[in-house]
Amino acid sequence: MELTISIILVFMIIGSIFALHAKDLLSAIINMGFVGFGVVICFLLLKAPDLAMVQIVIETVTLVVMVAVVLDSSRKEIEVSFNRRSLLNMAVGFLAFACLFYFFMKAIENLDPLGMHSLRMADSYVNGAVEKTGSINLVTGVLFDFRAYDTMGEAVILYTAALGTLTLLRIKGKK
């Protein structure tokens, strides 16, 4: 199974590199879809059907919407010329990266090595979750009982996204 996942991951990396460098935006979007559906197969192989289901539906809908948007606007990528300003931007980017890397290394000094964490929270979630929440599907039990704030936040984000789209794309107000 690890071999299969590795092969899919390699294909996904190739797809994302191609999506970055494609001249035609439509083929870039199709390659983005390649990455998304690769993630779906990985989720299924790792036995996470909940995530796979959400991912496959969201991927399909966003792919349809993005293809429609690209076909309607422009298929050409905007050419960016290299000048002194981009040098400054790159310098700022590297500075921020170095800063974040330094503090990241500081922060993980006291952590356990990778894969050896003490799973205090996960233990209490997994053991007796069915009695505590009454839901057989553990993922739903965690999403709507233990981490209900998280779910409410996600729903509010979607609500705000819809309101933002409605506000940005109205034509009457602009005139």
């Binding site: 059907p49 909940d50 289901m53 959400v54 539906v57 969201i58 399909t60 809908v61 349809v64 919407v65 429609a68 948007v69 309607d72 069915v130 009695e131 929440t133 009454g134 839901s135 057989i136 599907n137 993922v139 739903t140 039990g141 999403l143 709507f144 009982d145 209900a148 704030y149 779910t151 409410m152 996600e154 729903a155 509010v156 979607l158 609500y159 996204a161 819809a162 309101l163 789209t165 409605l166 794309l169 034509i171």
Partner: protein, 145 residues
């Protein structure tokens, strides 16, 4: 926006209802089988998006629909917050407390308020995705006039 060919229309007629029913099934069985409010909500929105893409519609009709869908999603998110507030009044004084009887695990009517949360999150997600899609379609229709 005009519709597509007859074959696409016929297949859409056959499939859209099934997709809608499957979305409702995923939402209602969210606490028993994989899935839940998010996946089911996007499936329901997908059924509507399929219908609109295949049959096409005038922008006036779509405007009526976008009012409806944005109202629906507002009601969905409002009901989630009201359910969370009701948990403050009944039982323990905590947000999102599971105040209904839990029943027997594995039955359709079990797990207290979790199915209710699933239903309202599903309504909210379906409304939000449909609203975003409709806003994009209406923008295209009106700007091309």
């Amino acid at each position: 926006m005009e519709g597509m060919s007859t074959i696409v229309k016929k297949v859409t007629q056959l499939m859209a209802g099934l997709i809608f029913m499957f979305g409702i099934y995923i939402i209602l069985h969210g606490h028993l089988t994989p899935g839940g409010g998010f996946a089911g909500g996007v499936l329901i929105a997908g059924a509507f998006i399929l219908l609109i893409l295949a049959f096409g519609s005038s922008s006036l009709k779509l405007k009526k629909e976008v009012t409806g869908s944005s109202n629906t999603e507002s009601i969905g998110i409002l009901m989630v917050v009201i359910l969370a507030l009701m948990a403050m009044l009944f039982g323990a004084k905590v947000f999102f407390f599971n105040f209904l009887p839990k029943g027997e695990a594995g039955e359709l009517l079990s797990a207290g308020v979790i199915p209710l949360y699933n239903i309202f999150i599903g309504i909210e997600v379906a409304g939000a995705i449909l609203t975003i899609f409709l806003a994009l379609v209406i923008f295209k229709e009106e700007s091309s006039k």
